[in-house]
């Protein structure tokens, strides 16, 4: 098979020693089936002798059966993995291919070229060091060439090979090649691509893949394979400051506490000072621990475990960075997002955002514009559909350590996850942090919250009741309101009845609507608190993220989470509305506790429930807690 170098037969030991030092290049090929992309990759595999005889036999058989090249070998068939695709004759996903030469191992991301597969191309490009952009010599630079180049540039791939294919069909004419090269370079400069190598090839015949074959004597540049084997990789990651997102805290016993993760840039040595972000605490690296013994140094792209000189609180999601050149922290950003889901991205919705080893909740603030990927025009938009690319603002529920994507892919690239479906619905990059004060201008008012609350002889707050259906939220909340009213306090109780029939009557029970339902309730509760009221809300509100979002709308201390902790079995046995029976029969979908999760609060201010004996005792305890917190007297 590979490397038919006589060294294998003669001195395998020496061969293996040489191959230990091979490097790795990941690249993506961009182009459509018509450009001969699959044929090119098949050709690279074939030329590097990575095809075994049995695969070759199957290939010859398949070429005759379904191939598009008559009796000749159809290299593209090597790549079209999934049966459905083989039948349709198109590639619809990302496939990874491997080959190696004496110098390098290659991982090729093979992705489809049509506009409707933008998400697949973005996926393949995210890990690539280099992109091969294919052009059909007969057609020149097309709209799709521009789209592919834009995506390559967007994903931060700096090195591009422009493979001008099908040169055999234009009689290997140098002027055709020169014209396409000039066209392309002019366009590429506009989107910031400058490191471009143009090669005239014929994937079908093999010109300039490994060898010239004599058809392009006018071409003096490198062969495609030669270029792939020698182009530098990873050359600048190590020169940047040290960063390691903590992935896992290793605590096998009380004597050892190691922080495991992959170094995403820079170099680290024992003794180096580091800073933990976002907390800002500092320490020094004690050891770099590996199963093969401690290391004197570790570099970008290595997965290591560090121990530190001081016992400081560090958990998964924190970033360890060079103390003298740490990373910034922020919770509001401008971001570029590629949408990957059939359901559109809507402003105001919130999603889970995973970046590095951290997962937080992100709310989509106004969409600034979307990009026409063919013309690069900016268009006004209020939503992103599948495969759209847009620029928007993101608000996170907590600060994170980050770097702009242009500086560091691993600390600036993120995915968005839908909480209901758990699917990855978008990917994006942080462009820069926003300062809220610069971007949101509040109307200043003279009568403020404190003034309004003081006139009522109380301090405003939101009592957020959460718990399973039938747990007793409404019953207890109602009793609390009565007691507060009796004390002369100004209150308002928001529950399913008064909200669903009015404010939220346009909302159903789909996933989006449930999120929007809670969002509106949270906003209304916050406005009522602003008016000086003690607000009580009684909704299942099963997800921590929505409750966190509600909490984030209020100042510290004004959001009081009341967990009505009634076990599922008890709530179900009670089944006051008969809903559990329906859900068990499958008539109610996404019913909390049955086929949809309830995420219990991790640190509620108040927990009440059956342990209290009866709802009235629970209500008394809550009122006592409000008094203790100073809510029931003017500040």
């Amino acid at each position: 098979m590979s490397h038919v170098s006589s060294l294998i037969a003669q001195d395998i030991g020496q061969y293996l020693e040489a191959h230990r030092h091979k490097s790795l290049l990941r690249f993506i090929t961009c182009g459509s089936v018509d450009d001969g992309k699959s044929t090119l990759i098949g050709r690279l595999l074939y030329e590097s002798k990575m095809i075994f005889e049995d695969q070759l036999a199957a290939l010859e058989r398949d070429s005759k059966k379904v191939g598009t090249r008559g009796d000749e070998i159809d290299y593209a068939l090597l790549l079209d993995g999934l049966q459905a695709e083989r039948e349709q004759g198109i590639t619809i996903d990302v496939a990874y291919r491997f080959f190696s030469t004496d110098r390098r191992k290659f991982i090729v991301a093979d992705t489809p070229g049509h506009e409707q597969y933008t998400r697949n191309m973005v996926t393949g490009a995210s890990t690539a060091d280099l992109a091969i952009i294919l052009i059909d010599a007969r057609k020149g630079v097309l709209t799709q060439t521009r789209r592919h180049s834009y995506l390559v540039s967007l994903l931060g791939i700096r090195r591009v090979v422009l493979a001008i294919n099908k040169m055999d069909l234009v009689d290997y004419a140098p002027e055709v090649f020169a014209r396409i090269e000039a066209d392309y370079r002019a366009f590429a400069a506009r989107i910031g691509l400058t490191d471009i190598v143009c090669i005239p090839i014929s994937a079908v015949h093999g010109d300039n893949i490994i060898e010239p074959r004599g058809n392009t004597p006018w071409y003096q540049g490198p062969m495609l394979m030669e270029h792939l084997e020698t182009v530098p990789v990873d050359d600048d990651l190590q020169a940047r400051p040290f960063r390691l997102p903590v992935q896992w805290v290793n605590r096998p016993n009380s004597d050892f506490r190691g922080f495991a993760g992959t170094i995403v840039s820079g170099v680290v040595k024992p003794g180096d000072s580091i800073k933990v972000l976002p907390s800002g605490r500092e320490s020094r690296v004690l050891r770099i621990v590996t199963a093969d013994g401690d290391l004197k140094e570790a570099v970008a792209n290595q997965s290591v475990t560090l121990t530190l000189a001081d016992e400081i609180d560090i958990s998964r999601g924190d970033v360890l960075a060079a103390a003298d050149d740490p990373v910034p922290v922020a919770d509001q950003f401008e971001a570029t997002v590629v949408w990957m889901s059939e359901a559109p991205m809507l402003r105001g919705r919130n999603y889970l955002l995973k970046i590095g080893t951290k997962t937080v909740t992100a709310t989509i603030a106004p969409l600034k514009y979307k990009v026409n990927v063919n013309t690069l025009e900016h268009l006004a938009a209020d939503r992103l559909e599948l495969n759209d690319i847009g620029v928007c603002e993101l608000e996170l529920d907590q600060v994170i350590a980050f770097e702009p994507y242009a500086v560091n892919r691993d600390l600036g690239g993120f995915i968005l996850i839908d909480r209901m479906t758990d699917h990855t619905v978008g990917a994006g990059q942080l462009n820069f942090a926003l300062r809220r004060s610069q971007n949101i201008h509040w109307q200043s008012v003279d009568i403020h919250k404190q003034a309004r609350a003081a006139s009522k002889g109380q301090r405003p707050c939101v009592l957020w009741f959460t718990g399973l259906s039938g747990s007793g939220k409404s019953t207890i909340a109602n009793l609390v309101e009565k007691k507060l009213h009796a004390l002369g306090k100004h209150t308002y109780l928001l529950d399913g009845d008064n909200v669903r029939h009015g404010l939220n009557k346009d909302l159903g029970f789909t996933a989006e609507d449930r999120v929007e339902n809670i969002r509106r309730i949270a906003e209304v509760a916050a406005l009522m608190a602003d008016a000086g009221l003690i607000v009580l809300t009684a909704f299942i509100s099963p997800f921590r993220s929505e409750r966190r979002m509600a909490r984030a709308l209020l100042p510290e201390g004004e959001f009081i989470e009341v967990f009505v902790d009634t076990p599922l079995a008890v709530a179900e046995a009670r089944d006051t509305k008969g809903l559990y029976k329906k859900a068990r029969r499958g008539e109610l979908k996404n019913f909390t506790g049955i086929d949809s999760p309830y995420e219990a609060p991790s640190a509620p201010e108040i927990v009440v429930g059956d342990a209290d004996g009866d709802p009235d005792k629970s209500a008394l305890r809550i009122v006592a807690e409000l008094r203790r917190r100073g809510i029931l007297s003017a500040s």
Binding site: I12, L16, F52, A95, W248, N250, I415, I417
Partner: protein, 300 residues
Amino acid sequence: MTALTHLQRLEAESIHIMREVVSEVEKPVMLYSIGKDSSVMLHLARKAFYPAVPPFPLLHVDTTWKFRDMYAMRTRMADEMGMELLVHANPEAQAQGINPFTHGSALHTDIWKTQGLIQALDKYGFDAAFGGARRDEEKSRAKERIFSFRSAQHRWDPKNQRPELWRLYNTRKHKGESIRVFPISNWTELDVWQYIHLEKIPIVPLYFSQLRPVVLREGGLIMVDDDRMPLRAGEVPMLKMVRFRTLGCYPLTAAIESEADTLTAIIQEMLLTTTSERQGRVIDHDSAGSMEKKKQEGYF
């Protein structure tokens, strides 16, 4: 500047994947098939969590038809690693005496392996299972994600895979759903052998050539590993210098004639050979796209 080699890069990627799973799922398990890929995966797990013992058990979905040398290796590795070893052999298959001789390879594989794996995952409630599959093994594997989701019925939907970008893996799933995770997806057969060589990873002796009793059956050399193997008329076991490129159930795994009795000789032979490793496995030949079909049904 320290230039990382391709094996260092692959190792770091695999370790990153394993740590991500342990950090984000509730109950992971490592499927241990005793072959060379499993051996590499286990070695990587030791590195990923050192000095802790990997925080998950090993699961071997047994068919009772593995080579005896494999069973010996299984016991040895679990001891050396200090990890819990769970062995599941489908009780229905045992009760019905399912075997490759009377029931054929397709049924044998389905009942022992596919059904057995599903039973074991359900029995213990594992929500993520590491597997040693590689993308270079077979066409449909080339498109499978590193984190590959299975429905509550353990089915794979190739049309509905999650995009995997950068080093970010979305591990969230609904109750009942599970993930198959392939940490060595991006390794090739040569990478695996080179790594075994460099890291001195113990492997089953069957990979090394020695004199073994075999019969020639349907063009393949099948080892007579124990007395459960019924000999057909005219078949007489003969001693030949043979070894195995891939290990599975002994009646379904063909040996190759070889003199390679050291690791370097094996690698040399592999580099000079001209047939791909899966050809020694009977299950891929059943029909075109057979691996894809099996995976949709829940096979690893």
